[in-house]
Structures are given as structure tokens and as C-alpha cells.
């Protein structure tokens, strides 16, 4: 089975984000980039599926040269092939999905894993768009997955609970935290990944359908206040919560 896992290269959530002066993009200087955390579940599931049924895992990323770092991590975890669909310009989710769909069609993957969302723009839509463009089914926010021949049974997280759905290959699965425990890239895996070549090609050319007009930071939070460190502070705390914060 040919399995695709789509990986995005995102700012580490622990780093402080600065917005460029023109107010439409972030300043990447000093920002550490990592594999999108939800994509790590997608990679793990792709590898587990391959280990069970055999096949090949293709780690695909759309973006600039720097995305190779994320592809390399997927290779170190055990993906067989890495593909960079190169575009140095910002793409919206639609344009990213289009590039992915074209490549997945070309390789002929019938199973596609992605994170449920990318923690940079949080659009939570690339998986669905890609599935639609490919004419595949799509199951999102998956926390448990079983594949049996052509049949796919997935447990999804929904508001306040879970649901189990059934579908058929080909399918796009978007991974939610809890789907599995992503493995660490082992030292041997890292050394082996060094020998794998990352195939690089221009991303399928397509116009964005949306445009960023403005980007800004949330207003600074007021500093906290310490009212005391023992029980004598409780009455004052209750009073402030009631009268000032008006939350109780």
C-alpha cells in the first residue's frame, strides 16, 4: 500500500511570535520551527499502518527549503520517501491542498494521513480540501483507527464524546492527539534518514483563494496580582472575583 503523510513545518508553540512591520506575516528570525505536533500522530499512524500491511510511506511537505527539516524528521522516524513541493511564497490552505492532491494523485496513494490542523494558522481544513480534490473520503479528528482490507473504521472525537464511522479506501485521515504515541526518531533512524534523498519539485501552480489582510497580536494581558499566600486572602479573593472580575 502506498501511504502519504503530509507534514507541515510550523513555529514551535513555545516561541514568541513577532509580526512583521507590514502586518501580514510573522518574522521568522529567532523562531524555532518544528514538525506540526498533530502531524507527528499522522506520521506514527502511517508508520504503524505500513508495519502492519507493508508498503511505502511518502512524507510530503509544501513550502520552502526549511521544510526539509520537517521531512527529514519524518524520514528519521521511518518514512521511506521525502518529497518537498517547493514554493517560497505563502500559500493558503486551498493552494496547499491543491499541491498535495496533485502529488498524491501522481504517486497513487490510497491512504493519506495528516494532522487535524496545523498549529500555525489553525485553519483545520487542508485534510478535507485535499480529500475533496482527490475524490477520496475524509475522516477528521481521528483518535482510533482500524483498517481491514478496503474497510476503514475510525473513532472520531466530537463535542462531548466520540463517534465511530466506517468508510472505504481511498481515504484521508486527519489525526487528533490520542491516536497513538509518536515514536522518537531513533539514532539509527536519524543516520539512515541522512542517506535518503528528499525529492524536490515545484509545487503545482495555483492561485490562493484567500488573502491575509491584517495580522496582529492579542492585547497584552495585565499582570496577575498576589493577594496573599494563605487562607486569610480568600475573602478578598472572593470579593474581587465577584465585584471586579464579575465571574462568580
Amino acid at each position: 500500500m502506498k501511504i502519504a503523510v503530509c507534514v507541515s513545518h510550523v513555529p514551535d508553540t513555545a516561541t514568541k511570535i513577532k509580526i512583521n512591520s507590514e502586518g501580514k506575516s510573522i518574522d521568522p528570525i529567532g523562531v524555532t520551527f518544528v514538525v506540526n505536533p498533530y502531524d507527528e500522530y499522522a506520521i506514527e499512524e502511517a508508520l504503524k499502518t505500513k508495519e502492519k500491511f507493508g508498503g511505502e510511506v511518502f512524507a510530503i511537505s509544501v513550502g520552502g527549503e526549511a521544510n526539509k527539516e520537517t521531512i527529514r524528521k519524518a524520514l528519521a522516524m521511518g518514512a521511506d520517501n521525502g518529497i518537498l513541493l517547493k514554493d517560497n511564497n505563502e500559500r493558503d490552505s486551498f493552494a496547499v491542498a491543491k499541491a498535495l492532491a496533485e502529488e498524491i494523485k501522481l504517486i497513487g496513494c490510497e491512504l493519506v494521513f495528516m494532522g487535524k490542523q496545523s498549529v500555525d494558522y489553525d485553519n483545520s481544513i487542508t485534510g478535507q480540501l485535499t480529500a475533496e480534490m482527490l475524490g477520496y473520503s475524509c475522516i477528521t479528528t481521528v483518535v482510533d483507527l482500524e483498517i481491514d482490507n478496503q474497510k476503514v473504521i475510525a473513532e472520531r472525537e466530537i463535542e462531548g464524546g466520540r463517534e465511530v464511522v466506517e468508510s472505504e479506501l481511498p481515504v484521508v485521515i486527519t489525526a487528533q492527539k490520542g491516536l497513538n504515541e509518536p515514536r522518537y526518531a531513533s539514532l539509527k533512524g536519524i543516520m539512515a534518514a541522512k542517506k535518503k534523498v528528499i525529492e524536490e519539485k515545484p509545487a503545482f501552480s495555483v492561485e490562493n483563494v484567500s488573502e491575509i489582510i491584517k495580522m496582529y497580536s492579542p492585547p497584552a494581558k495585565n499582570p496577575g496580582r498576589i493577594l496573599g499566600t494563605d487562607s486569610s486572602a480568600v475573602p478578598e479573593l472572593v470579593r474581587l472575583l465577584r465585584e471586579e472580575a464579575k465571574v462568580i
Binding site: D12, Y184, A185
Partner: protein, 389 residues
């Protein structure tokens, strides 16, 4: 807790290769997720966290510089050093486990063992399916191992071993002990296996340092060692010292992990602890302590990197390793003490990692050659006069 992002004031990162960085990051994530959350409990209980062995083996942490044919990762020495650094940010005891398995057990089997010994032991040790220990120190011979009294005698088809070793990391849990004993007056290495008649390895109790590591005595009472368990390429104390040199190299890197853990804890604490209406980080004396810490960390990092590059290009000498081990252990202790001060009373609690590192570093400073012995090794090199032989 905030994610640990390392301490790198001089962009030393830019001197590392892509795979060195990836390896470090993978081990760093492992330490943050698997060691730091559990280690205080094991340290408090005086237990080694056994469940880590399989996980560390899966990651490939044992014998990392040895060839792939033995199931090892075949990394360079800088990568090995970075791994030790990350592990020791977790705990010196866990790092000691890996140091012993890699540098003091797998290395001598690789360097001085027969083909059969290598083929049998190395993959098992790499996969964590067997644990090893290294027995050199004796109750009456620590800094002066050449005086050892443990003795092997030639008998038919093998040797009989008599004597005792002390302070042996992993001793009680080891499947195989690399034991140094005098055979016709020449220090020779033997592989002593768990369960051999007359061999016992009781655990030493009451340690107030390196509590998450097993330390044991090894007692040999007429133990029969088959011929095939002699390490054929050992021909004197120098072979044991070659092992120590590997391990000391790892320690020089390892303690930078302790330094970073203590500095990180102290810096975060100083910024959030309010006294006299201000964060204690705003006081000049606190800043001076933090600056001293950062300075020593940066110096040690640069020292280590060059040490590693020299080891990789074959120009490293034992006295270089002594200088780095001596300096870095000493500075790590100093940093741990300063961090403890910055944390005030909280500094003595095991809610913070500082006191554990402080206590651990007392062992780390002592084993693999004390601070004084390394001083004398370097002193001998620069003056041409030995002060200890």
C-alpha cells in the same frame, strides 16, 4: 512546565551538523518526556528506573559510536557527547547507566574482545537485553588501581578469580561484569557472568548521591572463569585506563547537562520569585550568580565541542580529557551550589532538580578519577614530573 530549549549563548548550535542537532533534539525530547517527570520519585526511593532500559535501547542509546554490524548507530563522538549531555540534564544516575553500558562494557569488549565475544555480547548489550558493569575499584584501591589485589589464577580450561570490587555501578543488575584482576601480576580483563559459582554482587545502601543508580560490591570467591571469558587483547592497567578515558569524555559532556538544568531552574525561579516587591532576578547579586553560571556553561560547551572534534580526528590525548572532566565537574558543582542559593529554601526540596544534581555531582566529581587525580595527570603532562607514581 515550559519546554526546555537548551542554553546556547554563543550560537554553538551553528558549529553542529544537521544530524548532530537532530540526535541531540531527539534525546532532549526523550529526556523531557520520559526521565524528568519520573526521576525525583526514583531518586527519593533510591531505585533505578528499570523501565527506561528498553526505551533507551529502542532509541539506540547504548554503544552509539560502535559499528552498525553490532546493532549500534555508529555516530561520531560529538553526537555521543551531546547524548550524554542531554541524559545528564535528566539525571546523572541515568547518564551513568548509559556511560557504563557503552564506554565501560561495550567499548572494552569491542576493543579487547575476541570475535566471538563481540558477536555474542555487543548486539545484546546494544539492544538492552543484557546489562553490563565495570569492576576496577576495590575497597582499598581507588585512585591507585595498580595496587589491586583481586587475582586470577590459571587452572585447567580457565581461571579462578578471588577478590572483591567496590563502588560498581550497575553491579547488582548486571548480566556481565568486565572485571580487572591480576594474572601473573599483569592487570587483565575478564567477563564474569551473573550466576557463576562463587560470584555475588550485593547492592551498597545508604548513598546520598546518585540515588537513582545501582552501586554494588562484586565478590569473587573462587569463581571459575572459562578460557573464552578472558578479554584476549588486555595486557595491563593501560587497557582499563583506556576505558576510563572513554567514560571520562562522556562525563565532561554529561555534566554540562546538569549545569543547564540548574541554570534553567535558577533563571526561571529568579524571574518569578518576588522579594522586597521585585523579582529576585532584579538584584545585582542574583544577576552575578546567573552570569557566572552562563559563562561557565558557555566555556564548558566550547571546550567539549573541541574535545569531541579532536576525538573524532584522532588528535585527542588523555590529558585533554582530564582537563575537561576536571574543569566541567568542578564548575557543575559550583553552578549547582549557586542555583541552590538562588532558590533559597525551595532549593533543598526535590520539587526542583537542583539539590539532586548538587548531590549527584559529588559522585561524578569523584568517579572516573577524582578532581585531584586529574590535576596530577595534567600536572605530569605539563611539567614532565609525576606527582603520584
Amino acid at each position: 512546565m515550559q519546554k526546555f530549549v537548551g542554553v546556547d549563548y554563543f550560537n554553538i548550535e551553528s558549529l553542529l551538523s544537521e544530524d548532530e542537532k537532530m540526535i541531540r533534539d531527539s534525546v532532549r525530547d526523550f529526556v523531557s518526556a520520559e526521565i524528568i517527570p519520573i526521576i525525583e520519585k526514583y531518586n527519593r526511593d533510591g531505585q533505578f528506573p528499570h523501565q527506561l532500559i528498553e526505551k533507551m535501547a529502542d532509541l539506540g542509546l547504548f554503544g552509539v559510536t560502535l559499528p552498525q554490524e553490532y546493532s549500534c548507530a555508529e555516530l561520531n563522538n560529538v553526537a555521543y557527547g551531546l547524548i550524554m549531555q542531554e541524559l545528564e540534564r535528566g539525571d546523572s544516575g541515568v547518564r551513568s547507566f548509559v556511560s557504563v553500558q557503552s564506554s565501560l562494557v561495550m567499548y572494552p569488549i569491542y576493543a579487547f574482545g575476541s570475535e566471538e565475544q563481540k558477536d555474542y555480547w555487543l548486539p545484546l548489550l546494544a539492544q538492552g537485553r543484557r546489562i553490563g558493569c565495570f569492576g576496577l575499584t576495590e575497597p582499598d584501591f581507588g585512585s591507585n588501581p595498580s595496587g589491586m589485589i583481586t587475582k586470577a589464577q590459571k587452572v585447567q580450561d580457565g581461571y579462578t578469580l578471588n577478590g572483591a570490587k567496590m563502588w560498581i555501578t550497575n553491579g547488582t543488575i548486571a548480566d556481565v561484569a568486565v572485571v580487572w584482576a591480576k594474572l601473573n601480576g599483569v592487570v587483565t580483563g575478564f567477563l564474569v557472568e551473573k550466576g557463576m559459582n562463587g560470584f555475588t554482587a550485593p547492592e551498597m545502601k545508604g548513598k546520598l548521591s546518585l540515588r537513582a543508580s545501582v552501586t554494588s560490591e562484586l565478590i569473587f570467591d573462587n569463581v571459575f572463569i572459562p578460557e573464552k571469558n578472558l578479554l584476549p587483547k588486555t595486557e595491563g592497567l593501560k587497557n582499563a585506563l583506556m576505558c576510563l578515558n572513554q567514560a571520562r569524555y562522556g562525563i565532561a559532556w554529561g555534566v554540562v547537562g546538569s549545569m543547564m538544568a540548574c541554570y534553567d531552574a535558577a533563571l526561571n525561579y529568579a524571574k518569578s520569585r518576588i522579594q522586597f516587591g521585585k523579582p529576585i532576578a532584579s538584584f545585582q547579586m542574583t544577576q552575578e550568580k546567573l552570569v557566572l553560571m552562563l559563562t561557565e556553561i558557555t566555556k564548558s560547551q566550547l571546550l567539549n565541542l573541541q574535545l569531541g572534534r579532536m576525538k573524532d580526528n584522532g588528535t585527542l590525548k588523555h590529558y585533554h580529557v582530564s582537563l575537561a572532566k576536571r574543569n566541567n565537574c568542578d564548575k557543575a558543582s559550583e553552578i549547582a551550589i549557586l542555583a541552590r542559593e538562588i532558590l533559597g529554601a525551595n532549593g533543598i526540596l526535590d520539587e526542583y532538580p537542583v539539590m539532586r544534581h548538587l548531590a549527584n555531582l559529588e559522585s561524578v566529581k569523584t568517579y572516573e578519577g577524582t578532581h585531584e587525580m586529574h590535576t596530577l595527570i595534567i600536572g605530569e603532562d605539563i611539567t614532565g614530573i609525576s606527582a603520584f607514581e
